[in-house]
Amino acid sequence: MDVSSLAAALPSLVAPTMNLKPRLAFPLHPFSARGGGAHPRGSVAVGCAHSNVPPPLRRAADEEDQGEDADPRLRLHRLAEEFRAVPEAGRARRLLAYAAALPRLGDADRVAANRVMGCVAQVWLVGRCDGAGRMRFAADSDSELSRGYCACLISALDGAHPDEVLDVDPADLAPLGVAAGTRSRASTWHNVLVGMQKRARAAIAVREGRSPAGSFPSLVIGRDGTVRAQGSYAEAQVSSPPLQFCLFSFRCLD
């Protein structure tokens, strides 16, 4: 599927609260070899090993529809090969090109509940399971390169089944760049993947009739024995729509 169809299709893949508005009506190919193509901020010079235009990112569901293997790990592997084929100087351009094609999230989705914690830039991630049992993701960031990383991960995991999302190992990201697969608050690749897997885990829990709430990172146990979330991240998790977190009180043993 080309980028314009992807951008047009995304609004139907996400919850009604999302307000995806592609910044422009993309042409069939975002950056034509003739140097045209609408772009949010003017003309773009994009380079890659084989032509001046990067191939559009394709989603797992699109490839499956065409009978191709849409396994996310394989797609990540192909993405890594694509990046390796590009001279290092061109990789940033490629990421920025993917960033330019990634639809922006609306204000309603750029909220604390959707923050991907640990990134050096602000990254918002929205994910849910659609009627066909596939995970649908959308993401945004205030950093353009981070948007590029998000676009790549979405292309690999959007449309995948929740179990397939969980099967992706952070080490699968390693070929994409230095420290890409490393557990670190500075690795957008890793942190966004973790965020996607959290949402996949919640979707599986709902499917199996369990509470989608996972382990809770930040609790304050008061002197009176009450347990409450504290801190913007913890409080955001409590208020996050897909998660129904049950706060409970227990007696502190003195």
């Binding site: 949010p40 901020r41 773009v44 010079a45 290092e88 100087a89 990789r91 940033a92 351009r93 920025l96 090109a97 330019a100 050096v120 830039a121 602000q122 205030d142 950093s143 353009e144 390169l145 981070s146 500075a186 304050v220």
Partner: protein, 375 residues
């Protein structure tokens, strides 16, 4: 590095325990490093130096050992909005457990902590003041001697985060007069994994242990234990022996150059960095300008209009081999106070040169051009 290598190859042995020659040698080197640290900051007694994992652990030591025993509901802890997370979060723990309240000093329009507001916050409820000596974001320096004088008048203790001053200038703990002072080895040409707390001996002697285990005890019974004197009381378990000895070697290196000489050179470098950076279009530097302060550290936290600092840092790294930091620099409260989410930061030490500053500025301009042409 040679010192570390020599320790691990030649006399790797635990300290204060064995009676054989290797242990004796290791103990002598370890305690020798403690004496070097004490001399480096002009501590009155080497027993006032407690080795920790880093400054963060040193602050936690004070918070748990002194704070939990001496603070109660109604007491106040004064900090500034420009503190590093390591100087804030442990006191939040203490506040939650004891009921003491945190009070924050804001910034002036020159983007330095407001000293007049600080004086106004001090009262007989203030039990401890926790402040940086030099800000890791703003580059500004606080008047610690005055802060200690004002704090002592209301009976408050003072803890100084000296991570950004000890590596860059002469620091004299007796002159500063603070009750506690912390620093980290890895910021002063030493190895990671070791730092230190300086505490006045009478205060350390009155403090309960932080961690329990070997070394910090005198006698252990089934129902109780008695504890060693400082500094051992606060050094439970096997310490980072090689690393502490390595810190001693780093101090030898810095002392050989001379901290005053380092400081003078870095003042010049700081001004050069600031003036070079401010000449780049659309750059906003945080903290006071060098002309408006007696001291500006050789670091600049900055933003470029309409370009994310993380993007700048990545392109500087990928395309120019220049390493800077981007993010909140462990100072989220300060960033919120400044009205920003993140910033980029270029920081220098005495081994950097003006030529390297030129390379950085040139690379920055090129990175900005690249990003603004692609966006």
């Amino acid at each position: 590095m040679k010192t570390l290598d020599e320790y691990y190859r030649s006399y790797n042995s635990n300290v204060h325990r064995g009676i054989h020659v290797l242990s004796a040698k290791a103990t002598e080197a370890y305690e020798g490093a403690r004496t070097k640290v004490a001399n480096f900051v002009n501590a009155a007694d080497s027993r006032e130096i407690v080795f920790t994992r880093n400054a963060t652990e040193a602050i936690n030591l004070v918070a748990y050992s002194w704070g939990l025993s001496n603070l109660k509901q109604g007491d106040e802890i004064v900090l500034t909005v420009a503190e590093h997370h390591s100087a804030i979060v442990p006191w939040q723990f203490v506040s939650q457990k004891t009921g003491a309240t945190l009070k924050y000093v804001g910034l002036t329009k020159e983007e330095v902590p407001d000293i007049e507001q600080f004086k106004g916050l001090l009262s007989n409820k203030t039990k401890i003041v926790v402040v940086h000596h030099v800000s890791n974001v703003l580059g500004s320096m606080l008047p610690i001697e005055d802060i200690v004088t004002w704090s002592n008048r209301v009976g408050a203790k003072v803890l100084v985060d000296a991570c950004q001053s000890v590596p860059h200038m002469p620091v004299d703990v007796q002159k500063l007069g603070a009750d506690f002072l912390v620093a980290s080895s890895h910021k002063m040409c030493g190895p990671t994994g070791v730092g230190f707390l300086h505490g006045k001996l009478d205060i350390l002697s009155s403090m309960e242990p932080f961690l329990g285990g070997g070394e910090m005890i005198a006698d252990v019974f089934q129902d109780k234990s008695t504890y060693a004197e400082p500094p051992s009381r606060f050094e439970a378990g096997t310490p980072a022996i090689g690393e502490a000895i390595g810190l001693g070697a780093a101090i030898d290196y810095l002392s050989q150059i001379g901290m005053q000489k380092i400081h003078e050179y870095e003042k010049e470098l700081a001004t050069y960095l600031y003036e070079s950076l401010i000449s780049v279009p659309n750059v906003r530097i945080y903290g006071p300008a060098p002309c408006k302060t007696d001291h500006r550290a050789p670091l600049c936290s900055f933003n470029v209009e309409n370009v994310h600092p993380t993007d700048i840092a990545e392109i500087l790294d990928l395309q120019h081999g220049v390493a800077i930091r981007s993010g909140h620099h462990c100072a989220q409260i300060l960033h919120r106070t400044l009205g920003i989410n993140a910033s980029a930061r270029a920081s220098l030490h005495f081994y950097n040169t003006k030529e390297e500053v030129d390379v950085f500025v040139h690379a920055l301009k090129s990175s900005i051009d690249f990003l603004t042409s692609e966006l």
